[in-house]
């Protein structure tokens, strides 16, 4: 049984009744300021692996080496 002189406890219960809940608060906020549309994710970042830059650098380096090193058989002929 609640103590009739527990004014603070009763006031806390009364306060809980009074407050807006999260859903009501969001409804008020969104009525004034509709949520901003979410930014579209970049297509490239969605499809490429995280190591794409390192992989590309390695492949480019290898291609440059292949193109600049003349095979010995060709040089001697």
């Amino acid at each position: 049984m609640a103590d009739p002189t527990d004014l603070d406890g009763l006031l806390r219960r009364w306060a809980d009744e009074q407050r807006l809940d999260v859903r009501e608060t969001e409804a008020v906020l969104h009525a004034i300021l509709p949520p901003a549309p979410a930014a579209a994710p970049a297509a490239a970042s969605a499809s490429l692996p995280a190591t794409w830059w390192s992989d590309l650098s390695t492949q480019v380096s290898a291609a440059i080496v292949l193109a600049t090193v003349r095979p010995a058989t060709v040089a001697s002929s």
């Binding site: 049984m1 609640a2 009739p4 002189t5 004014l7 009763l10 006031l11 806390r12 219960r13 009364w14 306060a15 009744e17 009074q18 407050r19 807006l20 009501e24 608060t25 008020v28 906020l29 009525a31 004034i32 300021l33 901003a36």
Partner: protein, 175 residues
């Protein structure tokens, strides 16, 4: 109106900072949850329309500005005696949320009766005491914050809060 991300962020921060206090202030005067929510929305809509101006004010003046808007909206809404009578009736009989309470034991029944008694006692407080009590208890505002909002000395706020609590305590002890 072009909505910049900065304005949106500034408004959201203001809304979070002041919504509970403004709502408590409105409920103390109008008490009907639906009406108080509508007025809360209208208050912050006006804040949004003046967001650049409001954000240039310091916190104390921002608070005073926002509560002045809310007070003016209340005055508009509060002109008829019928509205006021409905308000006090709603305070005395609790909100719709309170009406959903389920009492399934004698202890809860007693507690519910005490809460109903408290609501009636709060409804019977003078308007200014009920307003300050609501802002202090529901929105958990300090005396200084309430003083800024209502443009009163902080000592006056503390005195009225003390008087309100003393009156409620006396009412509850009489039961």
């Amino acid at each position: 109106m072009t909505v910049s991300a900065d304005d949106r962020a500034a408004f959201t921060e203001l809304f979070e900072q002041h919504r509970e206090g403004v709502h408590a202030f409105l409920l103390a005067r109008i008490s009907d949850r639906e009406v108080a929510r509508d007025l809360l929305q209208e208050t912050f809509l006006r804040v949004w329309h003046r967001i650049e101006e409001v954000t240039e004010l310091d916190l104390g003046r921002q608070r005073a500005w926002i509560y002045t808007v809310a007070r003016n909206l209340l005055v508009d809404r509060y002109r008829t005696d019928a509205t006021r009578r409905a308000t006090l009736h709603a305070v005395a009989h609790g909100s719709d949320r309170a009406g959903r309470e389920q009492a399934d034991g004698s202890g809860q029944l007693v507690a519910r009766d005490q809460l109903a008694h408290l609501r009636r006692a709060i409804a019977a407080l003078p308007d200014d005491q009920r307003e300050i009590l609501s802002m202090a208890v529901v929105a958990e505002m300090t005396s200084q914050q309430i003083a800024e909002a209502l443009e009163l000395p902080a000592g006056t706020v503390r005195y009225k809060l003390h008087r309100a609590r003393a009156r409620l305590a006396a009412e509850l002890e009489d039961t």
